[in-house]
């Protein structure tokens, strides 16, 4: 279907955006404190490389991604909490940078779809099953039962 080989094209697109070697986090960026570095990695996975096609800064080779990675680490070293780092990055780059959109009114439909659909679908199934059972499978009337007994020779 999709005229381009789906995965092939993401590979292609990704390649176009960072026609360098595919190595993201470099040793010289990493923080000496392993706990802090682990937090930096976790945060990086949720931040989008702004010039890439759907890639986190943790995976991307672009210069802008590197700048963001360094920025995140600087904030962590300065003593920010995870939330503060994210807020800071969003204040500078906008919500586009978040790979996980915020829970807010505008994104209500996005976050609500799974729950809503599961509920609506579930209710629909229960209601259909109920209505069909009540209309279609009535018990035998006494005469029918008597006739059946007679046939069965009871």
């Amino acid at each position: 279907m999709n005229a381009r080989l789906s995965l092939a094209s993401i590979i292609l697109l990704l390649a176009l955006f960072f026609a360098g070697t595919a190595l993201a986090v470099k040793p010289d960026e990493m923080l000496p404190d392993p706990a802090l570095e682990a937090r930096a990695r976790a945060l990086s996975e949720g931040l989008r490389c702004m010039v890439c096609q759907n890639q986190s800064i943790d995976e991307s080779d672009a210069d802008l991604a590197r700048d963001l990675r360094v920025l995140v680490r600087q904030r962590l070293v300065a003593g920010d909490t995870d939330q503060q780092v994210m807020d800071y990055v969003v204040s500078r780059y906008g919500e586009f940078v978040l790979l996980k959109p915020r829970f807010d009114l505008r994104n209500a439909l996005l976050w609500g779809t799974p729950v809503l659909l599961l509920l609506v679908g579930g209710v629909f199934i229960v209601l259909t099953a109920r209505s069909r059972r009540s209309t279609a499978t009535n018990a035998l009337t006494t005469e029918e039962q008597a006739a059946l007994d007679k046939i069965l020779g009871n």
Binding site: L5, A8, L23, K100, R106, L110
Partner: protein, 663 residues
């Protein structure tokens, strides 16, 4: 040859118009001769498309740079295999492959559909012809692969290096066989709506087509995932990229369709739903075409700058999805509903399966389209990436996977959930044990990791329990059991294999995500590094020359317990001069079901090289599970009752049987 191909393509377009109009008219007027036109036209259309495709492939194979598409996507120094696969490694060629497969399926219906009711067959071929006509026109009007260049260039511009891989030989054809295979289900549904009735032969026909399409789509997605894993160089196997989602949505919907079609075939219930699902599955395939082809994914504005192709596909999309859904709304109420069942029954379990799979499909759909909608209707831009899908799709899958083992063990119509639970006691106990062992004895195992392992074990043993129960394990003598096991219908094995594959894939994902380790460091030649108990020595960086690239190959030795090397892994950075592009060739060594993965980075000034290493426990099971699911589908297809023309053959056999038993 090239002009022959071009001409054949135009003829195929003309024939597809005939295939649309004449059989439809014949079915309307109940004219046998008009209806009979559909078959030969479909077969001829396929032959012409095949000729056209062969012409393009031969232009690629012989590096005929007077053809624009070849010039843009090929090079005389490329190995022959990449010259040939390059035929579909570009927009124009891949569209031609798309219609080739479409007409192939149409020809199959024509060739094997002699036992179908004549009007149904005519209508199916007409709908199939209409889809073909739309896409032939699309190719001829906006994406013609046969455009010539004058004067012809001496040399081509090379195929994108990333695509110069065996993955290109398998992934796109499989994916298209899957996507386009669902067009048959779509055509059958629309034909049923045109006729206003669904009968037994409808269900018996649609299920094997769904199985075939699903089997190839599973293979295509698994292959693509493995390709991205080793080619992109950072070891991810699924990125929740919109383009991936475009292939995943038809797979999810197709999986739901596969299951609802079982209910329809066996119990003639869920007719209307199955019909709708068949329409939706192919609609999602068409939607994927639009998403990928129109450029709308990069940005709504990128789409607006060159909208010719995008608008064309959008029109096709609107016509077929809108048309079929409108027809559905008009006609669905005419179709009779069948078979009643109790909520606790195999039908009930399959309805639950459909509820969760459909919701999951919708979640992926909304997640993929939401950023476009926000961008189109406001000045803002948002991203919806992996963290969103993991948070929504994941929780939807867990309950579904938990009930999978119950499904095949429940009886039709009215099941006994307690009896089934009793039979699954062993699987449940083993899953519990696996969870506890993981949590207590494996270092660094989180609660999620332990539960994940438990879930995988539950799925795997649940699938085996199904086979054990149905063959009478521990209740009959071993000899009898083996005979019963071998005598089970192939479709029972199909179900068990597919569910087993699901368990293996789950295990692979949990293993890789929860127990994988990673190291990023600068290494000098001669240095060693340890990762999860494996010692690797960096031997050095060696330059080499390929047919159309130059590479730096980093060699690593795997050091055994004795201190001597037991194997070598090499990872390379390649430079393709024509496109001025660098690619990473990851170094992979498979140990058991797990893999060591090495990716090379930049060279430092002091001669050191940045190296990224991963230990990926059980990672091969992710794709192994996919292969297992394919095997399940293949096994199900071999089931006697699904074989094309099976009813007539069975009748013959039944009449032959008494004479055979006579002394």
């Amino acid at each position: 040859m090239v002009e022959t191909g071009h001409f054949a393509l135009v003829l195929a377009f003309a024939l597809s118009l005939v295939q649309t109009v004449v059989p439809l008219l014949g079915a309307r007027l109940n004219n046998q001769r008009l209806m009979a036109v559909g078959g030969p036209v479909a077969v001829t259309g396929f032959a012409l498309t095949a000729l056209s495709f062969a012409a393009l492939a031969s232009a690629y194979a012989s590096s005929d740079f007077s053809v624009a598409s070849v010039w843009e996507n090929s090079h005389s120094l490329q190995p022959l295999i990449y010259k040939i696969t390059g035929t579909w490694g570009n927009h124009e060629g891949s569209m031609l492959l798309w219609v080739l497969i479409l007409t192939f399926f149409g020809a199959l219906v024509a060739a094997f559909g002699s036992n179908l009711p004549a009007t149904l067959r005519a209508n199916v071929l007409a709908v199939q012809g209409a889809i073909g006509a739309a896409f032939f026109l699309f190719i001829l009007a906006t994406s013609n692969p046969f455009i010539r260049l004058n004067p012809a260039p001496i040399e081509g511009r090379d195929l994108n290096p990333i695509l110069q891989d065996l993955g290109l030989a398998i992934h796109p054809p499989f994916l298209y066989l899957g996507y386009v295979g669902f067009s048959i289900c779509f055509s059958f549904s629309v034909a049923a709506l045109i006729e206003g009735r669904i009968d037994a032969s409808w269900a018996r026909w649609v299920r094997p087509w769904t199985l075939v399409a699903w089997m190839f789509l599973t293979g295509g997605i698994a292959m693509g995932s493995y390709w991205a894993y080793y080619e992109l160089g950072w070891g991810g196997f699924w990125f929740w990229d919109p383009v991936e989602n475009a292939s995943f949505m038809p797979w999810l919907a197709g999986t739901a369709l596969l299951h609802s079609a079982i209910v329809m075939e066996k119990r003639s219930a869920l007719k209307i739903w199955t019909l709708l699902l068949a329409i939706l599955t192919f609609s999602l395939s068409l939607l994927g075409t639009f998403l990928v082809r129109s450029g709308v994914l990069t940005s709504v504005h990128a789409f607006a700058t060159d909208p010719t192709r995008g608008v064309f596909i959008l029109c096709i999309l609107t016509l077929f999805i809108g048309g079929s859904l409108a027809l559905f709304a008009l006609r669905a109420s005419r179709l009779t509903t069948g078979g009643l069942f109790h909520p606790i029954s195999r039908e009930g379990a399959l309805v639950l399966n459909n509820l969760f799979l459909t919701t999951a499909t919708a979640t992926v759909l909304v997640g993929t389209l939401y950023p476009l909608a926000v961008e189109a209707f406001s000045a803002d831009k948002i991203s919806v990436g992996a963290p969103f899908f993991n948070l929504t799709f994941g929780p939807l899958m867990v309950p579904l996977l938990l009930v999978v083992p119950f499904g095949p063990l429940l009886a039709w119509k009215r099941g006994d959930v307690f009896a089934v639970a009793q039979r699954l006691m062993v699987a449940f106990a083993a899953a519990l044990l696996a969870t506890l062992v993981t949590a207590l004895f494996l270092d660094g195992a989180s609660v999620f990791a332990a539960l994940g392992v438990g879930l995988a074990v539950w799925l795997i043993l649940g699938a085996l329990t199904d086979l054990a129960v149905k063959s009478g394990f521990r209740t009959v003598a071993t000899g009898v059991m083996v005979r019963r096991l071998l005598g089970l219908p192939r479709s029972v094995f199909g179900t068990a294999f597919a569910h087993l594959g699901l368990g293996l894939t789950t295990l692979g994902i949990v293993g890789t995500l929860c127990f994988g380790t990673e190291k990023i460091l600068s290494m000098h030649a001669g240095e060693t590094v340890e990762l999860s108990g494996h010692t690797l020595r960096f031997v050095g960086l060696y330059p080499a020359q390929g047919p159309n690239y130059a590479e730096d190959r980093g060699r690593f030795e795997l050091i055994g317990v004795s201190g001597s090397p037991v194997g070598e892994i090499s990872s390379a950075k390649r430079f393709y001069p024509v496109r001025q592009m660098t690619t990473t060739e990851s170094g992979i060594r498979t140990i058991g079901f797990s893999q060591l993965y090495i990716s090379l980075g930049d060279e430092g000034k002091d001669g050191s090289v940045v190296v990224r290493l991963w230990w990926k426990p059980l990672v091969t099971l992710i794709w192994g599970g996919g292969l297992m699911m394919m095997a399940g589908a293949a096994m199900s297809l071999m089931d006697r009752r699904l074989r094309v023309g099976a009813p007539s053959r069975r009748r013959k056999q039944a009449s032959a049987l008494p004479s055979a038993t006579l002394p």
